[in-house]
């Protein structure tokens, strides 16, 4: 029985407007094959995959407090599974992507058991070492090209769809679908009871456990689910790249450092942050990448400047100025009138 | 007439957009014990953080021994002889008890307080001197915090909620020791919730209410009614 003159809301006007705008944008994006050029579609596809990686990493680091610098382990694992399952298992690429996710979840279980014994910076370094073990391990598998790497046979790519245009649309839709799926899954999860528990763990583990939260299990679930999705994204990435090698598959720069850059620049611990971060990252890359060393130096400077001037990221800056929340997660107590 | 050691002139303090102190005027004379009382959130801790430089404040809002210490960093203020026993103890967990005490001496001021003097005041600390400071009980930690502040031989020492979480016997000991702790010429500002206790040890008292001074007076003359009015405002 509620005797107080207060009530609780979880939405806002801005969020409702944003939802409508989001739906319109989604329809426009789905229709991209009819209005965008091939290069644009490929670029957007890549952007969606990075967005998915960033959203997943943000779930782990921004909400579960699991700062991993080893997610490239699952990107590479997923990529290698795509190659192995299609080349040796004869699977259709789409089936291989799904199975890569399941295998990613399975392999992440023993890894989690091991690295969950570590905290904070130790955890971060531990995940990195695990990813290195994956890299060096796959470098020993000569069937997959060992340290030399391997190319995806053209026939397998063509089995996705025989027409080039169809294939390109399909890759694009897969990437878009992945991003939409990942973002909605994370959003719904965070609004759920388990999501609330996750945020509590991030803030204070001792208090969380004494309030009935099974810390290990909650983190474990997040880790395994994130790894599964990451492996699927990895498979999608290497379906586009067509070629895999240990250094490329398990690149800490490409699959983790840039992802951390995206999330932190955008605003960690918010769903909006990775979206903004991804846009900024691609904007920088597309305009400056031809400058070579200068581009990389600019990237480094941006990372430093944003961190110093806006430690909550760009979205944090926007939010503090306008009190905006597009994906409302919190609760607000208001007085009933 | 005793010399005035600290003067606050229209002191303001902010946490981001939130203003916690509004034009606070206070002074404390050398050798005096000043009590500051006030409800929770009145701004007592904020006042102490401003004096010690942990919160920034403007020029000429705080004068120590005649000099403006408004814009100085906390470590510079400490060197000038202002020490604090913070709310909630806040010891250095990776230092032993003895090292916690010794770090207090690092400002390099001369005076009567050294390790031996502190051990004499709190003998249990000598027993525990090589233990990690966090493994002490709350009360023992409070003793270390007091000892640590004394080690810097300050001329002004600030106690924020010194009896919070202490057993009555310890509180009694500490208050009994207070005149000895303060000694010749050292002044103290005490923030205390136990009003009776605060009035008993101090010569003057200020009451804060929502960031403003709502009462000032000699401790032995203020009345209960005045205090409770100053606490909660006039309804």
């Amino acid at each position: 029985m509620n005797t107080t003159p207060y009530s609780v809301t979880r939405s806002s006007q801005a969020a409702r407007i944003a939802a409508i705008l989001g739906a319109v944008t989604l329809v426009v994006l789905i229709a991209a094959p009819w209005w965008a050029g091939r290069a644009d579609m490929r670029l957007m596809g890549e952007l969606f995959l990075y967005l998915s990686l960033a959203t997943l990493w943000n779930l782990m680091a921004g909400y579960a407090g699991l700062v991993s610098v080893g997610q490239q382990a699952y990107v590479g694992f997923g990529g290698y599974m795509l190659f192995a399952l299609t080349m040796f298992g004869g699977l259709h690429p789409l089936a291989a992507i799904a199975l890569a996710g399941i295998l990613g979840a399975l392999i992440s279980i023993p890894v989690a058991v091991l690295i969950f014994r570590l905290r904070g910076a130790y955890f971060a370094i531990g995940t990195w070492v695990i990813a290195e073990v994956f890299r060096l391990g796959f470098a020993q598998v000569s069937a997959l090209g060992g340290g030399s790497g391997s190319s995806l046979p053209v026939a397998i790519v063509k089995s996705l769809a025989s027409k080039r245009a169809m294939r390109e649309s399909l890759s694009y839709w897969l990437a878009l679908g992945a991003a939409v799926l990942v973002i909605s899954a994370v959003y719904l999860f965070l609004r759920s009871r388990k999501g609330l528990a996750l945020t509590a763990i991030r803030d204070n583990e001792m208090a969380a456990s004494s309030l009935g939260i099974d810390i290990w299990r909650t983190k474990f679930i997040v880790y395994v689910v994130t790894s599964a999705f990451t492996a699927m994204i990895g498979a999608l990435i290497f379906l586009q790249k067509l070629r895999i090698s240990p250094d490329a598959a398990f690149s800490v720069n490409d699959w983790t450092a840039f992802v951390i850059f995206i999330v932190v620049i955008g605003g960690i611990g918010t769903i909006e942050g990775p979206i903004i971060g991804t846009l900024v990252f691609f904007l920088l890359r597309e305009t400056l990448a031809d400058l070579g060393t200068t581009y990389l130096i600019v990237l480094g400077v941006v990372a430093i400047v944003v961190m110093l001037k806006a430690p909550k990221g760009i979205w944090g800056l926007i939010r503090s100025r306008f009190e905006l929340q597009i994906f409302p997660l919190g609760y607000r107590v208001t007085k009933r009138n | 007439m005793p010399e005035t050691i600290l003067i606050m002139n229209g002191l303001n303090a902010h946490y981001g957009d939130f203003q916690a102190l509004y034009g606070v005027d206070m002074h404390i004379d050398a050798g005096e014990i000043l009590a500051i009382i006030g409800a929770n959130g009145a701004g007592k801790t904020t006042l102490m953080r401003s004096i010690t430089g942990l919160l920034k404040n403007g020029a000429n809002q705080i004068l120590h021994a005649g000099a403006d210490i408004g814009g100085l960093r906390a470590d510079e203020i400490a060197t000038r002889g202002i020490a604090m026993v913070p709310e909630g103890r806040q010891l250095f967990p990776s230092l032993s008890v003895k090292e916690n005490l010794m770090i207090g001496a690092q400002v390099g001021r001369k005076g009567p307080w050294d390790l031996q003097a502190v051990y004499k005041l709190f003998p249990i600390l000598e027993e525990r001197k090589d233990q990690q400071s966090t493994s002490l009980s709350g009360g023992q930690q409070q003793m270390v915090a007091i000892g640590r502040a004394l080690m810097s031989n300050p001329d002004l020492i600030l106690f924020d909620e010194i009896s919070l979480g202490l057993a009555p016997v310890i509180i009694k000991d500490i208050y009994r020791a207070l005149p000895g702790i303060i000694g010749e010429g050292m002044s103290a500002i005490i923030v205390e919730q136990d009003i009776a206790q605060a009035l008993k040890v101090s010569s003057r008292v200020y009451c804060l209410q929502e960031g403003r001074v709502s009462l000032e007076g000699a401790s032995d003359t203020v009345s209960r009614e005045e205090i409770s009015r100053a606490y909660f405002g006039i309804e």
Partner: protein, 392 residues
Amino acid sequence: ATPTLKVGHVSPRTGPLAGFAEADDFVLKGIEAAMSAGLENNGKNWNIEIISKDSQSNPNRAAEVAADLILGEEVDIIVAASTPDTVNPVSDQAEINEVPCITTDCPWQPYFFGRNGVPGEGFASTYHFFWGLEDVIGAFLDMWGQSGAAKKVGGLFPNDADGNAWGDKELGLPKPLAAAGYDLIDPGRYQPLSDDFSNYIAAFKDAGCEIVTGNMIPPDFATFWAQAAQQGFNPKVVTIGKALLFPSVIESLGDRGDGLTSEVWWSPNHPFASSLTGASAKDLAMGYTSESGRPWTQPIGFKHALFEVVADVVKRAEDLEDPEAIVAAIAGTNLDTIVGPVNWANGPINNVTKTPLVAGQWQKAGDAFELQVVANANAPEIPVTADLKLLG
């Protein structure tokens, strides 16, 4: 109006392989000057626009920029050079997008088998010219034969595309070495950027090796070479691929660089000239040295030759609007370039043709090191410039 033909170019301008592309700007400037008046095709003049992108020595990035050139810039021909890390991802993107592609500066086995090429089938749109492991082996055996060193060879092969190809039991060094009566001591594939080679050194010492060979990156070789001396291992001949290509590496080794041997794919003394500019190998190399103040490097010739082939293809293609016609023109190439003849009809395998290879030794002349050709049995047209000296 003059139509424009777009050529995309990918190379590792930055990152650990940047040495291979250090002369890119110089070479491209020369090529652009030579093509400034346009090229004639079927009586029509075409502008040539070269768009160059950096792979950052990273295969992921190489695939991205290749896709970008193909889909975004819609280049008509794509070219790439310098190690499998750049060549293979670019070729793969070209193959799937059916864009004509020419590559070089990567032994053909890692190019062909590294891309899962099937002998007899090959690829549809992608072509490669360089030498192969059989040439390296031939040149090395030729040189070692002159040395009189014991026929015990220590092998140092990393677990990367080149190392695996060189050390491969079937296609690499082991079989031909055995056939020529050499004992190859091969402890296995090490991971690049290892900090310790004592186990190799111990194994080579135990076996009494007097020759060391392999394919390494410069820091690994430097580590090995210092440790070898510290641990009392002094071979008579050290012949290493890749690591010993660049004069800067040899200089960094100081006196210990004197007498090291390597394969030579191109040098100012090669008796070839550019089909595009008429410049001789010497002209090209000296041009770079005088412009940059840096010593010449072997990739300069191949980078230049890559665009010679492009120019030749552009002139001959039946229809420059049609990728298939361009591919047909590539396949029909028969051109004498600054690195030797390029003719895919003579290839050892589909889509691959080979240029001549000799063996050379870094010899100290005054203050600087010179790469002297010391063995040329497989390419006698390239003159020997000095005799092989033994180490130690």
